[in-house]
């Protein structure tokens, strides 16, 4: 049976880990959302050059595992002489790459930006032609059309798909422990190595992930009710 004494004893570790996981996830998603909007517009634009170059970026980051990206940023970049010299000289920008939190945030943000870009570009492209024609007929410029019709309507339709991306980011953030961060999974590994109690450590961490996912699903269900009500089948 589970040894609850170990779990209770480790609650502060789990709490700190959960907080770090949530911080990482929230900051990456925020950056991803902001960056994905213009990128998705470019990706769904009729300019082949613009669309293809953004497509190249998303292909790279969706085509490789996030763990590999994280290891490249954390261990890979630190191998370079210029990076190590930058740290010694106190270069403010390069010093960011010394911090595991920044490296994890950057890797997660680049990764979620790529996925979110494709999600948004997909819904932007699927804007009903009638809406665009109506906008044009009303004399809207290309930018006004995007701002008033394509983006707001697209983002609503993107909610169900985007909720998956958010949940996947939460689960994906578990790899932060690969670069010495003590996130929720890192805390579980720490507890495991202290007490040789794999079930207590990982089952409890799993339960916390499940509870967090439950809340995320709830938030998105609410968002769908609020903003996608018009797409619900009539009862």
């Amino acid at each position: 049976m589970l040894d609850f004494a170990i779990i209770i004893d480790s609650l502060p570790d789990f709490a700190r880990g959960t907080l770090l996981s949530l911080q990482l996830m929230a900051l990456s998603l925020l950056a991803g959302f902001i960056a994905a909007l213009p990128l998705a517009v470019a990706r769904s634009s009729s300019s082949v050059l613009l669309s293809r170059s953004v497509g190249f970026y998303t292909y790279i980051f969706r085509g490789t595992p996030m763990l590999v990206q994280l290891l490249l940023i954390y261990y890979g970049l630190s191998q370079f002489e210029w990076m190590q010299r930058g740290w010694e000289e106190g270069n403010v920008v390069l010093l960011l790459f010394r911090e595991p939190f920044f490296c994890a945030w950057l890797a997660f943000a680049l990764n979620t930006t790529a996925y979110t870009t494709e999600i948004f570009a997909g819904v932007f492209k699927n804007t009903p032609l009638g809406e665009i024609e109506a906008g044009r007929a009303a004399g809207m410029t290309h930018f006004t059309l995007l701002r008033r019709i394509v983006i707001p309507a697209g983002l609503r339709r993107a909610i169900p798909t985007y909720s998956n991306e958010v949940i996947l980011m939460l689960q994906g953030s578990a790899i932060a422990s690969a670069v010495t961060l003590v996130d929720l999974t890192g805390a579980a590994r720490y507890v495991y190595s202290r007490h040789f109690a794999p079930f207590e450590a990982f089952i409890f961490a799993g339960i916390i992930y499940m509870v967090l996912t439950f809340f995320l699903v709830g938030i998105f269900r609410f968002a769908e009710l609020r903003w996608l009500a018009h797409l619900r089948p009539r009862s």
Binding site: S78, Q84, T180
Partner: protein, 264 residues
């Protein structure tokens, strides 16, 4: 009646025969994946410090020894299943293992040590390391020690899944020092091309108090089944004789010319 007595005598003979085995042949086991302690020769046979010590103990016991190669994971179960009689595979004497098997006296020690840039003035002491970032492999003895004695004194302990990752971050400049098993650090980093420019900082750590010694461990011993107390006694006697005659040092110098790995 006579038959019964004869049968009883025979039974007694068989039983004593089982109990007081005279150990003319001993089956030893090692892993063959931890050079220079135990490795594999080109022909697939075991070699290394562990093997030489095992053979020397057998010679001292005037017993014939055979070697069995066994993977690390299944080592203790295979010993219990009588696939062999003793494990000579650089196994640390820990309380956890002692619950299952018995150990001879140590045949070498594995202290802890701090690895830093050559010329570093750091020392493996909490006061000297306060505010510094020290990398350890998660869950190993160095981690246990640093967590117990250093972390609360303000030393920042950074834990890695693998020892190599700690060395990579030490080299990159993210860490002030790495804290690890002395012999592992020597063979796995300092004596390798990757560890150029890096050296041990301060003294090796054997543990000053009994409590510290319990964390670091009692050293490396030969594991045997709990019921084979006679084998343990014979091996301990042989080991003491090797130490006294200088044969131990001859073998040790073959692998570690400059370091006395027996310890204190």
């Amino acid at each position: 009646m006579k038959k019964l007595i004869a049968a009883g005598a025979l039974l007694a003979l068989v039983m004593t025969g089982v109990q007081a085995k005279d150990w003319t042949t001993v089956r030893l086991s090692s892993e063959g994946a931890y050079p220079p302690f135990n490795g594999l020769a080109a022909d697939g046979s075991l070699n290394g410090f562990d093997i030489d010590i095992g053979n020397a103990i057998c010679a001292e016991m005037k017993a014939k020894c055979t070697w069995v190669k066994q993977d690390w994971d299944g080592m203790i179960p295979a010993l219990m299943a009588r696939k062999f009689d003793a494990i000579v595979a650089s196994m640390s004497i820990t309380a956890e293992r002692k619950a299952k098997v018995d150990f001879t006296d140590k045949y070498y020690s594995s202290p802890l040590a701090l690895v830093a840039k050559a010329g570093s003035t750091l020392k493996p002491e909490a006061a000297a390391l306060a505010g510094k970032k020290i990398g350890v492999q998660r869950g190993v003895i160095a981690d246990n020690f640093a967590t117990k004695y250093w972390e609360k004194q303000g030393v920042k302990i950074v834990r890695y899944a693998k020892q190599d990752e700690a060395y990579a971050d030490l080299k990159a400049g993210r860490l002030d020092a790495a804290f690890a098993d002395y012999l592992e650090a020597l063979g796995g980093y300092i004596d390798t091309p990757a560890g150029k420019g890096y050296a041990f900082a301060g003294e090796r750590l054997f543990g000053k108090t009994a409590e510290e010694k319990a964390v670091i461990g009692e050293g490396i011993g030969i594991a045997i089944r709990k019921k084979d107390t006679d084998l343990k006694e014979q091996m301990n006697k042989a080991l003491a004789a090797l130490r006294a005659s200088g044969k131990y040092d001859t073998i040790r110098k073959k692998y570690f010319p400059t370091t006395d790995i027996y310890g204190e």
